[in-house]
Structure formats: C-alpha cells, structure tokens
C-alpha cells in the first residue's frame, strides 16, 4: 500500500473567475467591518428609521390615487396626503395616476435620499472606508494580496464593493423596500407598472452615491498609513467643502453686481450628491407634472414645494435679504449633468490614482 | 545591599486573561536573564517593573520603590523596549539627545548622546534619519537611548532579535562590560544560548508563572528526581552500554547502535563521571565524544515545563 503524499500539492481543479476574487476580498472585509465596529452595526439599523417616516406617505398616495375610493372620504390617509400636496395635485393624482403617481414617488425618493440617506452614507463611509487600504499599507498585507494571482483592479474592486455594500445597505435596500411598499399599495398593477422608471431611478441614485464616495474614500485611504488621518480628511472634505460653498453662495447676496458663483456648488460633496440625485429623480420634470404652475398652490404648500425645489437646485432667490428672500421656480446654476459629470470625474481620477499606486507597489 | 527588585504575590489580569499568576520573585543586583517562551509573561513583568502597568494584586518594588508614577525612580532605570519603533524622521543623534533631555540631562544631553552612541558603535550613521536604518542600527540606537542617562538598572527586552551575528556579539560584549562596571541588568529573551553568554543567573517563566530562579547549576541540582542525561558517542554503543550498566549507577539507557550513540540516565552524575574513565578503558571501546546533555538551559527548561 503506497504511503500517501502529504506534502505540498498544487491545486489542480478549476480556478474561479476574476470577479470572484474581488468578491472574496469584499466578503472578508465586510465581515471584518461588521465585527470590529459596534457603532457600525447599530448605525445600520438606525438608518432604516426614516422608512418608518416615509411609509405612511406611500400608503397615503396609494389611497388617494385609487379611483375606487370615494374622494370625499376622510380618514387618516387622506389627511396625510392632503397635508403634503396641494389640492390640485391631489386632483391630478386621482385623475391621471399613471403619470402623476411616478412623479410623486420620484419626489418622495428624492427627499428620502438627500435628506437622510446621503448623510447616513457619509457617516458609514467615514467608518468603513478609511481603514480598508490604510491598514493593508501599514501591515504590508498589501504586498501579500498582490503576490497572489490578484490584479490590482480586482483588489480595488473588492475594496470598493465593501464600501458600496454598506452604502447600498443605507440607500438601495431601504429604497427597494419602500418601492415594494409603494407597489403593494398602488391602486392597480398597471399603475405599478408605470412606476418602473422610478425603480431604475432608485438603483441609479444609490449607485451614484455609493461609487463616487467609495472611490474617493479609498483614494484617501491609499494616501496614508494612518487610518485616522484618512477619516479626518474625509470628514474635513465634507465640512470644509460645505462651508466654502455656503460662504461663496451667501456672500453673493451682499453684492448686487456679482454673479452667484455656481461653480461653488462643485466644492461641496453634499451638493454634488444632492444635485446628482435631483437629476436622476428628475425633480424638475416631476414638479412640472404635478403642478401646472406654482401659483396654483397657496401658502404652506408653496413654501414646501419651493424648499424642495431649492434643495434640488431648481429654485432661486429673487430679492430680499437673508431671512426674507423669495424663492421662485427656475433652474439655478448648472444643470444636474454638470454635477454628475464632476462626480464621474472624481471617481475616475480616484480609481486611476489608487491603481497606479498599486502597480507601483507591485514593481518594487 | 537592597534587592534589585521584589515582586510579592503579583498577579496581573488583562480582563479574563492572566498575564502574571501569583509571582513571587526577588532578584539581587547584577546581571540576570529572564527567560521564557512567547506568552510567558516576560513583557508583562517588564512593564510592571518600569511603571507602565500596575499589578492587579500584589506589590512591585524596584530598587526599593514602587515604579508606578514615580519619576524619581525612573531616572535610575533604563529601558530598551522590544518594539522596533522610533520617531522615524529624527536621526539617531537627535532621537537619543531628545530622550536624554527628557531624562533630565539638560545641556549635557548632546554630549552624552554622542558618547552613548559611540559606545554602541553607532557613530558612523547617527546623523542619518532613522527611517533608513537596518535592523542592527536600530537596535543599537535603542540601546543608546537606554544607557545615555547612565541608569543603575538596565532592562533589555529581547535586545538580540533580528540582529546579525556580528552585532549580536557586540551587544553581548557591551552587556557583559556594563555588568562588570557594576550596573544591574535584566535581559529578557527566548533565545537561550545567547543569554547564557551574558550571565549565568536566570529567572525562568512559563504561562505567567515563575518556574525557577537562580544559577543554572543550582536549579538543576534542585531537580533530583529527574535523571541527568549524558550522551556518549563511541565506536560500539552496545558493548559500552553493557559495561556502563554493569559498573555505574545508571537508571536508564537509550542506544542508537547505527549512529554509535548512547544516552545514559543517572541520578548520581558525580559518581558516574568519577567512574566512567575506568569503565570505558576496561571495555576497550573508542570514545569519540562525551557530553552532559543537561547542564544546558534548554534541557532544564524542558524538564520544568514538562513537569507543569
């Protein structure tokens, strides 16, 4: 009986594809991130809270749009809907739900994404992102990774997938859940079918938040061995960028001749993501579909709609000092495409720098 | 003369993990080795001695004082830590000078730093930033900062790791010389033969406990119940074995006839050695080598660990 050879044996089976290796890195890192940070785990749960706030709206819209319901019936849902949209919009919703319901949903998702989820994403990225590459650099595990049959782009993809996973957990997964709630509560399947574009918008917006921020934070993580420095730089980028934007924006109010510097919006990460989301959710088009003209609405609705539009960059100030400025509808500054382009540029630049650094390391 | 250090009933817990377990130890001034495998508690002990940690239970006294929060005592101590860590952007001279000033050397710091670096053989490269140093240069820098303020008690944590044989030799010589000058030194290591070159007084640790402390011979002699092992290499092991069994106080024998080796186990090594030449001569077996496989630290350690 021959004695079994228990020494080194090369792998003779099939090797997995290239994406699977990136996924292997991602899976490992996701596990590490979840285990190492209690804060992260709690935060992931916390980020689903806004859904509790938004669900009733979908319920209410669904109820209003239902043609079989008595339009004069009261009830909580009607009240909720009535408090959000002006009566003429509600009438439109009832009359032509196929076109108006998606518009309402788009606006709701836009608010969901920009008011809460993008802020949460920033925090999550700050927690998960900076250590990812910095710790590999510090412990020289970087070289161990690259001495395996892993290309630098697979390494980057794996790390990016980690950050993206957590951001999507904040944006896409709750978004899909809300979408499901909305579909389940639409008046009919055809109406639901008409909202498919909104689903696409949700996916796109989630990716548009996840990928650029992920790549940017990985860039920061590559630049330093100290993950704390990377975290700080990430937060400082947001804080200082927002501050710079606000200063440049507000100061223009004191100068009658000065052009409002629209490029200031490109300095603020928050503004970049918000305007991009506004473009993806087509806030302008949705508003136009919901209201024939702003003067249709009165008082508090007008204010709310204007605030929403202003957040999306679709309203601007006319006259008045700081606390009494009048908002009117109309594009303010660059179209969303410019902001999307900027995000794309940042993403590509980040990816290139990280890859170049990885290649350099391999050559040493 | 006051004891160099004294630990009474010292236990150190890290949460639920026992770092040191009811350690009772007194050392006299002089050069001592602290031996044990990784995880034995050597680093914990050294941190307790230098005031970086406080015992969970028990009392620590170094040169008669409690090292916790005791700057006056720390002026008399010097530590060469295990970690390979520096302020990389400084040069060795700047680094040692800075630490010398922190030790209170004032305006003489620069001069003393230069002297210390010269002593460890670092004068050549002491102006370059530490970031570019080899392992040996870094070890020397670490040693220099430990001796620059001329401490009474020097604590060296794994000073020989990663050094090349030449550097190792130099460090060992330095330690011996410092010992001769009257300094007390505690060298922690897990590489036994290197420490044996520096001193013959040891403390053996394992699993958070002190197994034994004293001179090797003394320790060995205390363990009477464990037979000594004496290895003989000869031309005909079987014949010699029979002769030894017949005439000497042998408790056991291991024979490897093919290689011509035998190992005799005896509880009376002196009697064995006294009678061996006559027996060997009478058996007419050529003897190539004889060794007491035992008067070596690792053997002692082995026995002690096995009896745990």
């Amino acid at each position: 009986m021959p004695i079994a050879e228990l020494g080194y044996r090369p792998w003779e089976g099939r090797r997995t594809g290239r994406l699977a290796r990136a996924w292997a890195i991602a899976r490992a890192e996701i596990g590490i991130a979840q285990q190492s940070s209690r804060l992260l785990r709690r935060f992931l749960l916390f980020a689903w809270l806004p859904i509790l706030y938004f669900c009733p709206f979908f319920l209410a819209f669904g109820a209003v749009a239902d043609p079989t319901r008595d339009p004069n019936a009261g009830g909580l849902l009607a009240q909720i809907a009535g408090s959000l949209l002006p009566p003429e919009s509600l009438a439109k919703l009832r009359a032509t739900p196929e076109t108006t319901l998606p518009a309402v949903w788009s606006l709701a998702f836009f608010l969901f994404f920009t008011y809460t989820q993008s802020l949460f994403s920033m925090v999550v990225v700050a927690i998960v992102g900076p250590p990812l590459i910095a710790k590999d650099l510090r412990s020289k595990a970087f070289l161990v990774y690259l001495s395996k049959p892993i290309a630098p782009w697979q390494y980057l993809l794996g790390k990016l997938a980690t950050v993206a996973f957590f951001v999507l957990a904040m944006t896409l997964f709750p978004g899909l859940f809300l979408y499901g709630v909305g579909v389940a509560l639409s008046p009919s399947l055809t109406t639901a079918a008409n909202t498919l574009p909104v689903l696409l918008q949700v996916v796109l917006a989630s990716l548009a938040i996840a990928l650029p921020t992920g790549l940017l934070v990985l860039l920061l993580s590559t630049w330093t061995k100290d993950r704390r420095l990377a975290t700080f730089t990430w937060v400082a980028l947001w804080v200082f960028g927002e501050f710079a934007f606000r200063v440049l924006d507000t100061s223009a109010r004191f100068a009658p001749d000065a052009e409002r510097p629209h490029w200031a919006g490109l300095l603020s990460m928050r503004e970049l993501t918000t305007r991009t989301a506004a473009g993806i959710f087509d806030v302008r088009g949705s508003l136009e579909r919901l209201l024939s003209s702003l003067s249709d609405s009165e008082g508090v609705f007008q204010e709310r709609i204007l605030q929403l539009a202003a957040g999306a960059g679709e309203a601007r100030l006319v006259g008045g000092q700081m606390d009494q400025a009048a908002l009117v509808l109309g594009r303010d500054g660059y179209p969303p495409a410019v902001f999307m382009g900027m995000l794309l540029l940042l993403s590509i630049a980040s990816a290139l720098v990280v890859l170049r650094r990885a290649h350099r390391q391999v050559r040493i | 003369m006051a004891a160099l250090l004294e630990l009474s009933g010292v236990t150190k817990l890290y949460g639920l993990v026992i770092g040191l377990n009811d350690v009772q130890l007194t050392l006299e001034p002089g050069v001592n080795g602290l031996l044990g495998p990784n995880g034995a508690g050597k680093s914990t002990l050294l941190k307790l001695l230098t005031g970086q940690l406080r015992p969970s239970e028990g009392r620590v006294r170094v040169l008669g004082e409690d090292p916790w929060n005791n700057p006056r005592l720390l002026a008399r101590l010097g530590l060469c830590p295990e970690q390979d860590a520096f302020y990389d952007q400084l040069s060795a001279l700047e680094f040692v000078t800075s630490l010398a000033r922190l030790s209170g050397l004032g305006s003489a710091a620069g001069e003393r730093a230069r002297a210390a670096l010269a002593r460890v053989g670092a004068s050549e490269f002491m102006h370059r930033p530490i970031a570019g140093y080899s392992k040996g240069m870094r070890q020397r820098t670490k040693l220099a900062q430990a001796i620059v303020h001329d401490p009474e008690f020097l604590i060296l944590d794994e000073p020989l790791t990663g050094t090349d044989p030449v550097c190792r030799r130099e460090i060992v010589d330095l330690v011996i010389e410092l010992g001769r000058q009257g300094k007390s030194i505690l060298v922690a290591s897990h590489v036994l033969h290197e420490v044996q070159a520096m001193t013959d007084r040891f403390v053996l640790m394992y699993g958070g406990r002190v197994l034994a402390s004293g001179r090797v011979g003394e320790i060995r002699a205390l363990m009477n119940h464990v037979p000594h092992r004496i290895r003989v290499r000869c031309a005909d092991a079987k014949v010699l074995a029979q002769a030894l069994l017949a005439h000497l106080p042998v408790d056991g024998l291991e024979i490897d006839a093919r290689r011509g080796e035998l190992v005799a186990l005896t509880r009376e090594p002196s009697a064995f050695f006294a009678g061996f030449p006559a027996v060997a001569l009478a058996s007419a077996v050529p003897i190539h080598e004889i060794e007491s496989a035992d008067d070596r630290l690792d053997a002692v350690f082995q026995y002690l660990m096995e009896s745990e």
Partner: protein, 355 residues
C-alpha cells in the same frame, strides 16, 4: 517639559508631515481669494449710492434724475413682465414678494417708490437676474440701511473661517490623536519610562500642538485678512488672531481629553461632538447653544471687537459678557487638561506586544 514641546513640534512639522498643516492652512486663503475674485465682496465694501438715496426717498423726495422704468423688450436677463408694483406691494408672477413701499435695487439703479418702478439712467442695471438684490427700507421709520457694517461682515467671515472651522478641525486632528499616535507607533514606552511627571507629559503635548499650529495659523490668517480687507481694518485681524489662539487652546484641550479617554475612538467622538455640537447645534438660538465652546468664543469675539451689531443679529447666539466668556474659556482649557492628567496618572496605557 520644554523638550516635550519641542519633540511634539518636530513630530508635527518635521519632514513630510509638514505638508498636511501647510495644505490645511492654505485652503482658507484660497477660499478668501475665490471670494474676492468672484466680486462678491465688492458689495460689502465702500460707500454706496443708496446711503444718500435712502434718506431722500424716506422723506418723500425722488431725485430728479429718475425716470419711470420701462421693461426693455427682448432683454432676457430681467424679470420681464412678471414684476408688477401695486399699492399692496411688489408682485412677482402674480405673487406678492415684497410689501415695502420703498425698495432700492443695485445701489439705486432701480427704485420702487410711490407705487411705481423708477430708473436712474446714470447707473447700470445688471444683465442677469442674479444681480438683482435689494435692501429694504421701512417707510417712515428712522432706520438706516440694513446692510451690515463692512467690518462686521469681514469679522464674521474670518471668525467662522478660522476659529470656528479651521482651528476646530486642526485641534481635532492633532489633539485627539496625540496619545493614539504614540500607542500605534509604539513609541509610548520611551516617553512613559522617562522621569517626567504625567502632568508634564499632558501639558507638554498640549502646548506643543498649540505652538506648532499657532504660527502657521497666524500666517494663514494674515494672508486671508490681507486678501479680504486689502490691509484695512487691522482691528479685525488682531481680534481674530486672539480668538483663534483661544480656540486652539480650548478645542485642543477638549479633544486631547477625548484622546485620553479612548485612544481608539477619540477622533470619531471628537468628530461627532465637533460637528454636531460646535458646528450645528451651537447656531440654534436656544439654551442649548450656550453649552458649547463656540458660544463663548463668539461672545469673546464680539466683545473684543466692539462691532456695531446689525439689528437682526440674534443676541442669544453670543450674549455672554466679556468676563464670563474669558472665565468660561479658561475653565474649558483647564478642566479637560486636568481630567486628562488624572487619566494619565491613573490609567494604564500600554503598547500591545508584537508576540
């Protein structure tokens, strides 16, 4: 302790680390440059035509050069056809946006008076809607133009930029990581086994950071001030320098304490506190804003600068009198340092072994 300070400074400003501080402090200067280049500052400075015009309008007199304003046909830049003055006020797209009866745009180029729009042909109207800004004038009341005094605006900007944002962020970065760096870098044993009192260690590190940051910050502040005010208003520079130093001292003490409380999480805690409390909540005009360092820094700033505050400036945001502000800031400096010293002497900070 002097050596500790020196060592800390070298750690922060030696070699490659220097670029971080330099970069961080050149950003505010760049922002100020951008501000000046966009021309946004032009409106804040200098004498304005309306300073003469407004009193005249208030007394019911319209200067002779004004002619009734006709909307120019085909000019896409203005609010063509949609702005209508009425007895109730100004309507824009049928919506009432302005109820005042006397309104001045663009330093008097366009005026709303007596229910009509009037134009001064000698002054240019901006070609774009974005250029239309105006300041209210209350009819019949003796109120000056509500444009805030220019030194107040400059001071506000420099205060926000330096003590409030830049000094806070820098103190956060260095203060909260001072112990963590020694632990991660495993250099703590060298310092911890030296014959220095733990108190000296804490204070030395603190002062080292402040000194290392103070000089570059002062240089950066000087540059920003020069660009912003064109070397006028030296009082603003002096005040901002003083308050920036106070900000560095106090914020650094606070974040240092956080770094000692939890070397691992100190920075995150500091970030949360800094953003949530100091940058957001402290601007809410309610009681909550008084428990922030920011409140006292602002109060100190206003008391030292003795600005004329514009009427609508909420007093609650910076109401502390000078002695109280100084005392509070002193406490904010001493108490966290004291607590950090306590932690340093009582807690064990040990570097993890390699094994």
């Amino acid at each position: 302790m002097g050596e500790l300070i020196r060592l800390q400074i070298r750690q922060m400003l030696g070699g490659r680390r220097r670029w971080l501080v330099l970069l961080a402090l050149s950003l505010p200067v760049l922002l100020t440059l951008a501000l000046r280049l966009t021309g946004a500052l032009g409106g804040a400075e200098g004498q304005r035509n309306e300073d003469h015009l407004v009193p005249a309008l208030r007394s019911g007199v319209l200067p002779a050069q004004f002619v009734p304003f006709e909307w120019p046909a085909g000019n896409p830049g203005l609010l063509a056809g949609t702005v209508t003055p009425t007895p109730q006020g100004l309507l824009y797209e049928g919506r009432l946006v302005q109820t005042e009866q006397i309104v001045v745009w663009n330093d008097g180029a366009l005026v709303l008076f007596d229910g009509r729009l009037w134009r001064d042909p000698g002054l240019p109207l901006p070609g774009s809607e974005a250029g239309l800004r105006f300041f209210e004038v209350q009819r019949g009341e003796q109120r000056g133009s509500r444009r805030p005094p220019v030194d107040f605006l400059f001071g506000l900007y420099l205060y926000m930029l330096y003590p409030q944002v830049t000094c806070l962020l820098l103190a956060l970065l260095y203060g909260s990581s001072v112990l963590a760096n020694e632990l991660d870098g495993k250099t703590l044993p060298y310092l911890w086994t030296r014959p220095i009192r733990r108190a000296s260690f804490v204070i030395g590190k603190h002062l080292g950071i402040v000194v290392a940051l103070a000089v570059p910050t002062a240089a950066s502040l000087f540059a920003s001030w020069a660009v912003l005010t064109r070397f006028e208003h030296p009082g603003v520079l002096a005040t901002t320098l003083a308050v920036s130093l106070a900000a560095l001292l106090c914020y650094n003490a606070l974040f240092l304490l956080l770094g000692f409380v939890s070397p691992r999480r100190g920075m995150i805690l500091g970030l949360l506190y800094g953003i949530l409390f100091e940058l957001l909540l402290s601007f809410v005009p309610a009681v909550i804003n008084q428990v922030t360092v920011s409140y006292f820094l602002r109060s100190l700033y206003l008391r030292l600068a003795s600005f004329q505050l514009p009427e609508e400036f909420p007093e609650e945001l910076a109401g502390a009198p000078l002695p109280l502000a100084l005392l509070a800031l002193l406490l904010i400096l001493i108490v966290p340092l004291g607590a950090a010293v306590l932690l340093a002497t009582q807690r064990e900070y040990a570097v993890k072994d390699e094994a």
